[in-house]
Symmetry: C2
Subunit: 259 residues, 2 copies
């Protein structure tokens, strides 16, 4: 019989933002594997389960740990924040899984930051959009720049993951400067920090203002398309072009709320 490993997207981390399917997979598991911060987010409910972790950056080792535990006959779940298939561990698990032919994988989707952050901001990605990570750990910066420019060329709403880290403090500034070459400076934008966690901070601003905002690895950034507006503090991207364009774009920007 083949062993099955669940790769579970836990969303922002709050239990009520997980799906029933994700909770059931964790309930059924003997071992929960994950990055320490995510294991802590799970809280009391799964505290009795065996929990295993590897340090940050040791993702391959974390994957191997899952297969090794599964081969012992244990039911294993690997948890990822947000959606397991969006900058999560799903693809690496499939790649490493080639070495473990007696194991099958099941990805259980979760609420990604584009959805949870979008809901907090209003409706910033209610039409075609791109998701781009500014992390250049695994992707050359030139490729990231090419994608930012292509997203602008296509007039997509843009969601930016990993806009900064301790070592990459100025990456959002660099990305905004690049985009300001083709996008007008009063383009409506917004960002959310600590979505669905303590200390949630929700801001709207223009692209020019976004350039100088302080963000961190817990921030998700939204850049509207050419028709996006800020309505009563919410960043709104229309579903289409049925309603006449409001020329008074971004008349109400620069708001900040703390939830």
């Amino acid at each position: 019989m083949k062993h099955k490993i669940y790769i579970v997207g836990i969303g922002p981390g709050r239990e009520d933002m997980m799906t029933g399917q994700a909770l059931a997979a964790l309930e059924q598991s003997d071992v929960i594997v994950g990055y320490t911060v995510y294991l802590e987010l799970l809280g009391e409910r799964f505290a009795e389960k065996e929990q295993l972790s590897t340090p940050m950056r040791q993702e391959k080792e974390r994957c191997r740990l899952c297969f090794q535990e599964a081969e012992k006959g244990k039911q294993v779940s690997l948890i990822c924040s947000g959606d397991a298939g969006i900058y999560g561990m799903a693809s690496l698990m499939y790649e490493i899984g080639k070495e473990y032919p007696d194991t099958v994988l099941e990805v259980i989707p979760g609420i990604t930051a584009a959805s949870s952050g979008g809901a907090a901001l209003g409706a910033p990605i209610n039409h075609d959009f791109c998701v781009i990570s500014l992390s250049d750990l695994l992707t050359p910066w030139e490729k990231i720049e090419r994608r930012l420019l292509a997203a602008a060329e296509g007039d997509f709403a843009i969601v930016i993951y990993n806009p900064a880290s301790r070592k990459r403090k100025d990456y959002l500034k660099k990305a905004c400067e690049l985009l300001l070459g083709t996008i007008e400076e009063n383009r409506c934008c917004g960002y959310v920090e600590n979505i669905g966690r303590e200390g949630t901070r929700i801001c709207t601003c223009t692209l020019k203002e976004l350039k100088d905002q302080e963000v961190n690895m817990f921030t998700t950034v939204f850049i509207g398309n050419s028709g996006s507006e800020i309505l009563d503090g919410k960043l709104i991207t229309k579903r289409g072009y049925q309603i006449e364009r409001n020329t008074d774009i971004c008349r109400n920007h620069g708001g900040e709320r703390t939830v």
Copy 2:
């Protein structure tokens, strides 16, 4: 006191793919408003609630219905399939909400088809990606073409929503023909029909093969980026470039599974 309306993403429709937050909003509601097909997906659990609907295309009327019911003092939830803020009703509610200043809106995110379909296919959007709808009801076709080309130019993985409808039978073919101008014909692709519902169908294929697939309004299509592979029937897009490119791309394509 202001009335609050919940705009709730119910995911693919299966109760265990909804979040606890979404279920709680519906439980608290006196009235659930939605397109008939989505109300039916909710099933038994909410059958006792007052349910209101308007026909397809009458989305503005459906929004107004929510505000009118809320003004009567009822707790209203408007349901959308997938995520309420991704091709859902969230932005229209905010726009129409300008006429109802005594009402506040809260968007509750759900699992969108990019996540649920992606999980079914493996890990097709595990790196930067674009989401594009082929519906030209509200968007000029020229704009859709421009976005497809920009997505190819940026080497994004691409998720296509609404690849066809009764009136737009050949839109996926048109989109593939356009993309084949810049993307190689053996690019790894896949699609999922009826995600999380009865009759789920999961297929992988090349871009050239995708052109001639029969899809419908319940299909979500995935086009890999230049590094995507089909591994043991799963469509995998790597998290980055840390693992050497496999030149034997798509060696295992053309699979079809029925779940």
